[in-house]
């Protein structure tokens, strides 16, 4: 499954690459292609409220004498009638610039900044092309010290959730083997994606996102936007509104909304939450620990009543799988317990020690997870890698000749908890496949290359802190 997914991603990336190359390598520079029929936009129609058409003095014999400039989504922009546009967070358009170039006489446009390109597919989806990215690389949206991992499918046409996530700002980081290979600012992503859609829609405002400051809609829904301090000033000021904020603001700005629209927005929000949760679980690593999926009745956040059917179905599937898993655990436990008991029978001289070690290991495991914030797999790996002297209390130290065996016993006891049977592993694999999580590399080298570090896990996002930590604490408490 993982291999096929990667092969698919690779093929997709290649196809996307060739498509984008074809899109941006057109010869717009040959000025014979510069003519009035290349005008695809009317710069008199404002892209957003506050935008204005302006004239420019040309020295040469050709060029667009008029253009449009404005400010939206926290970025300044200027665009020409042929669609050539620049978006940047500063009015000089000098840093962190998104540049949009359109194929002459067509509405086919591509936006790019260093190491990053985006365009609209035929189905109207945003598609990204990241330079120097290969299959197996991981992607993270980073904002300050917070970061979340995003699925590899961002190199495929983006769905609404991913587009809104990327449009929320921050930076997109691509990593290979834990090393960052590229980092691109996402400032202007939302505005540029809207601009691309606006071009394709022949400057139709209906394709712009909800809450977009559409001009000439100066009714009760938009007047509040113009009354903000920034817009009241002589010079327009950036309005850095994340899409989620915009969607919330839109409900405030536009109180007269249909019920369907409301439910759609809430459904989208629920899907985003679910997406975040799935990414959080993916962030927790390829840990097949069943306890990382809390029971539906206890830990799983209850789905909203108006959650879309697809998400609800997915959650139900997960809950059913988890219930089956719990049943299997209960069936397997006596067998494993008898197995574990059989170990002391083989080691009569130290029959009490494994239980004590097991308790000590559980205590250390709990410490590593609660105090240090490690996930289960990492905590176990730390216990395994640590010297025996460090993980055992002096009073229960076995004889040196017995250490190796007892370590194996302790690990076996731990594994009894983590990996009880092959059936469990199989179910876990199916569960992961069902929720379409990107798989971590299974080869030893790949696993070593992407093995998380303690520092990575100390950089918890607010999503991780709010959702995963309570689950882990509960699990640790149960132990």
């Amino acid at each position: 499954m993982t291999i096929s997914f990667r092969v698919f991603s690779l093929i997709s990336a290649l196809l996307i690459g060739s498509h984008v190359d074809a899109q941006v390598s057109f010869d717009a520079a040959e000025n014979r292609s510069f003519a009035s029929e290349n005008a695809i936009l009317d710069t008199a129609i404002p892209f957003a409220i506050g935008a204005r058409e302006a004239q420019q003095a040309l020295r040469g014999s050709f060029g667009w004498p008029n253009f449009q400039e404005g400010l939206v989504e926290g970025v300044y922009f200027r665009f020409d009638p042929d669609g050539y546009a620049r978006f940047a967070p500063t009015p000089r358009l000098d840093r962190d610039v998104f540049e949009v170039i359109c194929r002459p006489r067509t509405y086919s446009c591509a936006a790019r900044k260093e190491g990053f390109e985006m365009f609209l597919t035929e189905r109207g989806q945003i598609q990204l092309k990241l330079e120097n990215v290969a299959a197996g690389d991981t992607f993270h949206v980073v904002e300050g010290v917070s970061e979340i991992q995003v699925p590899e499918r961002i190199v495929q046409p983006l769905d609404m959730q991913l587009e809104m996530l990327l449009g929320s700002g921050g930076e997109l980081s691509a990593r290979r083997g834990g090393n960052e290979i590229s980092r691109v600012s996402l400032k202007g992503f939302a505005a540029v994606s809207s601009y691309l859609r606006w071009i394709v829609a022949r400057q139709d405002y209906s394709v712009l996102p909800r809450g977009w400051p559409v001009p000439n809609g100066a009714d009760a829904a938009t007047t509040s936007m113009t009354q903000s301090a920034g817009w009241a000033s002589p010079m327009p000021q950036p309005q850095a509104l994340a899409p989620t904020v915009i969607s919330q603001a839109s409900t405030l700005i536009a109180p007269v909304e249909t019920t369907a629209a409301k439910s759609e927005a809430e459904g989208l929000r629920a899907e985003i939450d679910e997406l975040k949760r799935m990414m959080l679980q993916d962030r927790a690593g390829p840990d097949p620990d069943p306890v990382s999926f809390p029971s539906a009745g206890e830990q799983m956040p209850a789905p909203a009543d108006n959650t879309s059917g697809q998400v609800a179905e997915l959650l139900q599937t997960i809950a059913a799988l988890q219930a089956d898993l719990r049943d299997l655990k209960q069936q397997d436990l006596p067998t494993q317990e008898s197995g574990s008991v059989s170990v002391p029978t083989k080691q009569e001289a130290t029959d009490a020690i494994p239980l004590a070690e097991s308790n000590a290991a559980a205590d250390r495991l709990r410490f590593l997870m609660d105090e240090l914030g490690l996930d289960m797999q990492t905590a176990v790996a730390v216990l395994q890698m640590s010297p025996s002297d460090d993980i055992r209390a002096p009073e229960i130290l076995p004889m040196p000749t017995e250490r190796a065996l007892e370590t194996e016993t302790a690990v076996a006891a731990t594994n009894t908890i983590l990996y009880q049977t092959d059936v469990v592993d199989q179910i876990l694999a199916e569960l992961e496949a069902d929720i379409a999580q990107p798989q971590m590399p299974k080869s030893a080298e790949a696993a070593a290359a992407v093995s998380p570090t303690i520092q990575e896990y100390q950089l918890l996002s607010r999503y991780f802190a709010s959702a995963a930590l309570p689950a882990l604490r509960d699990f640790a408490a149960k132990q």
């Binding site: 040959e30 020295r59 014999s61 050709f62 667009w64 200027r78 358009l93 170039i101």
Partner: protein
């Protein structure tokens, strides 16, 4: 007395007298008012006095005023006029050995505000590489000149042009002829066709040439090359006037044709009584013509001298003020002091306008036809040009960036950039006409590099020369430049670039391109003397000494300013 008065008042005779007296007074008053009113309201008719040559009312008859000679320094000072140099192929081998171009005065201003530069220009024959560059640059015009109109495309095969770029074509044509790349029949064929076409161009609202014309049809077009009109540019016209004067002075047999071209134009709005230049554009809302002051420090003075060469008096446009300086790498770089936020016009500092002044006019005033080549009568222009050069060399020495900045076209959007030394408050600012900062388009402009090489004989310009001299495509001409950030060549070919490169190479052979006028009277000054056309269109009279542009000076930077 009282008795007499009292008796008269009461008598019938007195009443009759009083009646007649009142009638007389009223009649007199009425007559006086009528006469006065007649004098006031019909004064114009009565004061129409025909101009009679030699009468007291006309010291210099208007009909004869055009016959006055244009007063130049050679006429006033009795100095010999400069001579037109021979063509390259007609120069004796020892031409430069016998020609002394070394200054006999120390560098700096003289008491007449002339200026002697501390740098020397390059003079001599063209070597093989330079001659090849000249041939390739001329090949641009061979390739992209339209046979139907004789106009050359501004950019590659895109069929449009401006007067600025047409002047560049004229520059290339003169250079090609003087460097013996073409012979006189070809030269005459091209220039005659071109001038005939320019004379037949439809003007912008019957005033001045439109900003842009279609090179295949000669129709006035808008910026998208569709039939329409934009307005006119005083800067473009100024540069075109420089080259019309160069042609007229160098080739007197073309003088009538050249004059007839200009005598179709109406100069009433392009330059005002104070000597400011105005461009025109069409108001988008009302469709009316709007005239707006045009030109900033650098370009404005160069274009002003173009007008002055034809007798106009652009006094204010020729002045440097208001200007400010920005200290960059120890050099106080002058820039226009008019605030872009108020005047909505950027103050770009680029090399090009100073180069053109130096190459074409020798940093001399329009009336100067006798000063030695090393003495620049328009002193402050030469001194400012030295600063423009020095700051670019300093940047190279202190940062390693090879620098020769100018405006230039680029391949693809945004099509055109001002690659400036200073603009909008920033040094080394590369911006588009609409104001975007596009540092990726910063480049070593080929025309600027070769121009600097021609006017400043230094180690730095040797490096520029090596960077540019082989930057050509044999099929299309010299490339526009070399990207500063390592993206390679600016893969576009323009008339302006190739024209200025040819001018630079010609300057090495012949020195300043403008040569003195050798004729006496000019049709330009004598035509329409029997009509009011000259008054209406503001055609000037031959410039006299009091009409000369003043020679000015500004403070000189004596030490580096960091």
């Amino acid at each position: 007395m009282l008795h007499l008065f009292g008796s008269c008042r009461r008598s019938p005779v007195a009443g009759i007298c009083l009646f007649f007296l009142a009638v007389s007074v009223l009649g007199g008053a009425t007559y006086t008012v009528g006469v006065t009113a007649r004098q006031v309201f019909l004064a114009q008719e009565e004061e129409v006095i025909p101009i009679i040559a030699g009468s007291d009312l006309d010291d210099i008859p208007a009909l004869m005023r055009g016959n006055l000679p244009s007063v130049t320094t050679s006429l006033v000072k009795g100095e010999p006029r400069r001579e037109k140099p021979p063509r390259l192929c007609e120069m004796p081998e020892d031409y430069f050995a016998t020609k002394n171009t070394m200054p006999t005065r120390p560098a700096g201003y003289d008491r007449h505000n002339g200026y002697v530069r501390k740098y020397r220009t390059r003079r001599g024959f063209l070597n093989e590489r330079e001659l090849r560059a000249a041939k390739v640059a001329w090949h641009y015009f061979e390739t992209f000149t339209q046979e139907t109109t004789g106009l050359a495309n501004s950019v590659g095969n895109y069929p449009s042009t401006t007067l600025w770029d047409t002047a560049s074509y004229m520059a290339g044509l003169v250079a090609a002829y003087e460097l013996c790349l073409i012979e006189k029949p070809e030269f005459d064929r091209r220039i005659t066709l071109l001038l005939t076409t320019i004379k037949s161009l439809e003007l912008f609202r019957k005033e001045m040439p439109n900003k842009v014309y279609h090179t295949k049809t000669g129709a006035k077009v808008d910026y998208t090359n569709k039939p329409g009109e934009i307005g006119f540019s005083a800067l473009d016209i100024g540069r075109f006037l420089v080259w019309m004067r160069i042609y007229k002075n160098r080739y007197p047999y073309l003088a009538n044709t050249i004059d007839s071209v200009l005598l179709k134009w109406d100069f009433r709005n392009v330059i005002d009584d104070e000597g400011l230049m105005f461009g025109a554009y069409v108001d988008k809302e009302t469709g009316e013509t709007v005239y707006a002051q045009e030109g900033r420090l650098g370009y404005e003075e160069y274009a002003a001298k173009g007008f002055a060469l034809w007798g106009f008096r652009p006094r204010l446009a020729h002045r440097a003020e208001p200007f400010l300086t920005a200290s960059i790498f120890g050099v106080q770089v002058p820039y226009d002091g008019r605030d872009p936020r108020v005047f909505h016009s950027q103050n770009y500092v680029v090399t090009e306008s100073y180069l053109q002044d130096g190459l074409e006019l020798g940093f001399d005033l329009p009336h100067d036809d006798s000063s030695p080549e090393w003495l620049h009568s328009d002193g402050w222009r030469a001194e400012f040009a030295d600063r423009i050069y020095q700051v670019q060399e300093n940047r190279w020495r202190q940062t390693g960036f090879l620098t020769a900045r100018s405006e230039h076209n680029v391949k693809g959007p945004p099509y055109f950039t001002y690659d400036t030394i200073f603009s909008d408050g920033y040094p080394w600012n590369t911006v588009t006409p609409r104001g975007d900062y596009v540092p990726d388009h910063s480049a070593v402009a080929a025309k600027a590099a070769l121009g600097l090489w021609a006017l400043w004989d230094t180690e730095y310009t040797d490096v520029l020369y090596e960077a540019i001299i082989e930057l050509y495509d044999p099929e299309n001409g010299m490339y526009e430049g070399l990207y500063e950030r390592g993206q390679g060549r600016v893969s576009i070919f323009t008339a302006n670039n190739n024209g200025i490169i040819l001018t630079s190479l010609l300057h090495k052979v012949q020195g300043p391109i403008l040569t003195p006028y050798t004729g006496d009277t000019e049709v330009w000054f004598t035509a329409y003397r029997d009509q009011d056309t000259r008054v209406v269109r503001k055609y000037p009279d031959p410039p006299q000494e009091e009409d000369w542009l003043p020679a000015l000076r500004h403070s000189v930077q004596e030490k580096a300013d960091f």
